[in-house]
């Protein structure tokens, strides 16, 4: 199927995560909070912990997650003021000035990626570090990931790391049934597939 994340000749930033490499050190959460000054107790990125099996054959997998910058973002669709908008390169961003804090977008996001930023009196979330991207740098969490579980790049550039990873490994996305066309790809962790 042709899906909206891939149309050549356009930049489309995506994450490719390798849950198998994530050790739940949460360095990405720290570096994000330092980079983006998220208020105390709120996070723009997080790790989902999934336990599997029956004692004594147990395993835990860690899924690094943040806003999926969906191609068909439910949050943007419901925003009544246009504060949440989608950039040409696929980034879904919030204009803090226009956001009145109705929290409708928080109801609509299938990933619960959004939170109320009490300091800004607006709704906040991951921006893929847009200020760094525009300066030619990768997102902060990618740089600090010590397990190299987080990969970032332009999916429409066949030479990019993310495109190569996706060409080589089977992958999945989260809650695809929501129709949101998320831009975070997860590589199957072969270790836990029986």
């Amino acid at each position: 199927m042709d899906h909206p994340n891939t149309s050549p000749a356009k930049t489309r930033w995506v994450f490719v995560m390798e849950p198998e490499r994530c050790i739940d050190c949460e360095a990405c959460m720290i570096s994000c909070s330092v980079e983006n000054e998220a208020p105390l107790g709120k996070h723009r990125n997080w790790i989902v912990k999934i336990d599997k099996g029956i004692y004594p054959n147990l395993s835990t997998t860690f899924l690094p997650e943040n806003c999926h910058h969906c191609s068909n973002p439910p949050c943007e669709r419901v925003c009544p003021t246009g504060a949440t908008y989608r950039r040409e390169d696929g980034l879904v961003l919030v204009d803090f000035d226009k956001c009145i804090g109705c929290k409708y977008c928080m109801m609509a996001c299938p990933y619960d990626a959004r939170f109320v930023n009490e300091e800004k009196k607006a709704v906040d979330k991951c921006t893929f570090c847009v200020h760094r991207l525009d300066a030619g740098l990768p997102p902060a969490c990618v740089e600090t990931c010590i397990g190299h579980a987080r990969h970032f790049g332009n999916i429409n550039d066949p030479e990019s790391e993310v495109a190569k990873l996706l060409a080589k490994h089977p992958y999945y996305r989260l809650y695809e049934e929501a129709g949101s066309e998320p831009a975070i790809y997860y590589i199957y962790s072969n270790r836990v597939i029986e």
């Binding site: 669709r77 419901v78 009544p80 109705c102 929290k103 109801m107 299938p110 009490e118």
Partner: protein, 332 residues
């Protein structure tokens, strides 16, 4: 149960409830005007006099639920065609304006005479004279405004449900049932609000209009309650037989913190009890073509129950909906 933060809370419940009551009261008033004219005049007037106020309180509570209450005007700088909240903000404003005009038209004399219409000039260059509307003009104006407002009030009633339904991420909301149920319940709570006020007012001595209007309102309310039951029942069947997200969202209502509230508060007190009371009142009419049984106590009680049931319904749906979710992530 894992810890869940409710980002939409009682203020939103209040807003959805009050918007429904206003829409219903307006619609019932218009219906009475068209169906009964003079006979149901008291109902028309009560409906018209209460219609604008609940929704205005509700809008106020919505504004104070924002993180920036004093910047709510951003809502009115744009129309976002895909956002029910944007459409709703405009719709509710329009409704409030129409309801206020309607309110003025039903205002008792002498205050109503503040409404004036320009008269035709007797000769050119003489100043225009503004005169209070006469009774025929008033009657006509009431009918016109009621007709304009009726589709808008239906829109408002439906919007309260669509607001929640437009969100796929919350499977309990994302069904046509919510809009249908909220619309019918809006009409029902509106009728109940009118009934309640009518029961509280001391009737003028020697008037049998009470039986007439009671019969009208009770028949209407019974119909609406039956429709609600016919909406809820297939909804339960379908959700139970649907995907994991749907059937698990139903389980929140069948066994969880909202179960008692839903079944006791909404189904029993809000639907079945008023249905029984109103059925009892209407029974002589259907059975032996006698006058409807009327007592202000029964009327007030069933109306209060319908109102409480409507509020409970919205509370349960708003909160339980935020608990409902997709099939949780699993390892792959």
């Amino acid at each position: 149960m894992e810890h869940i933060e409710f980002h939409w809370n009682a203020l939103i419940v209040f807003y959805l409830f009050t918007a429904g009551v206003s829409a219903g009261a307006f619609f019932v008033s218009g219906l009475a005007t068209y169906l009964g004219g003079e006979r149901y005049k008291r109902i028309s007037r009560i409906g018209a006099l209460i219609a604008p106020w609940p929704v205005m309180l509700g809008l106020l509570s919505l504004v104070f639920d924002l993180t920036k209450p004093f910047e709510f005007w951003w809502l009115f700088l744009t129309v976002q065609a895909t956002s029910p909240m944007s459409i709703g903000a405009w719709l509710l404003t329009l409704f409030t304006v129409v309801a206020l005009v309607y309110f003025l038209l039903w205002f008792p004399r002498p205050w109503r005479d503040l409404l004036k219409a320009p008269q035709r000039r007797s000769a050119p260059n003489t100043p225009r004279i503004w005169k209070p509307l006469d009774q025929a003009q008033i009657n006509k104006a009431r009918r016109i405004v009621a007709a304009i407002g009726a589709p808008i009030s239906i829109g408002v009633g439906m919007y309260t449900g669509v607001l929640l339904g437009a969100v796929p991420a919350r499977p309990l909301w994302n069904t046509p049932m919510v809009a249908q149920l909220f619309l019918v319940s809006a009409m029902s709570t509106g009728a109940a609000a009118v009934l309640l006020i009518a029961a509280l007012l001391r009737p003028k001595a020697g008037h049998d209009y009470l039986h007439e209007e009671r019969r009208f309102l009770v028949s209407l309310d019974i119909m609406l309650i039956l429709v609600e039951i016919f909406i809820v029942t297939p909804f339960f069947l379908h959700q139970a037989l649907s995907t994991w997200s749907s059937s698990s969202s139903l389980r929140i209502l069948l066994g969880g913190p909202y179960t008692l509230l839903f079944w006791l508060g909404f189904v029993l007190l809000g639907l079945l009890a008023p249905l029984a009371i109103e059925g009892f009142e209407l029974f002589p009419v259907v059975w032996r073509e006698q006058a409807v049984r009327y007592s202000r106590l029964w009327a007030g009680l069933s109306a209060t129950l319908v109102l409480v049931g409507g509020a409970v319904l919205r509370y349960v749906i708003v909160f339980a909906g935020q608990v409902s979710h997709f099939l949780p992530l699993y390892t792959r």
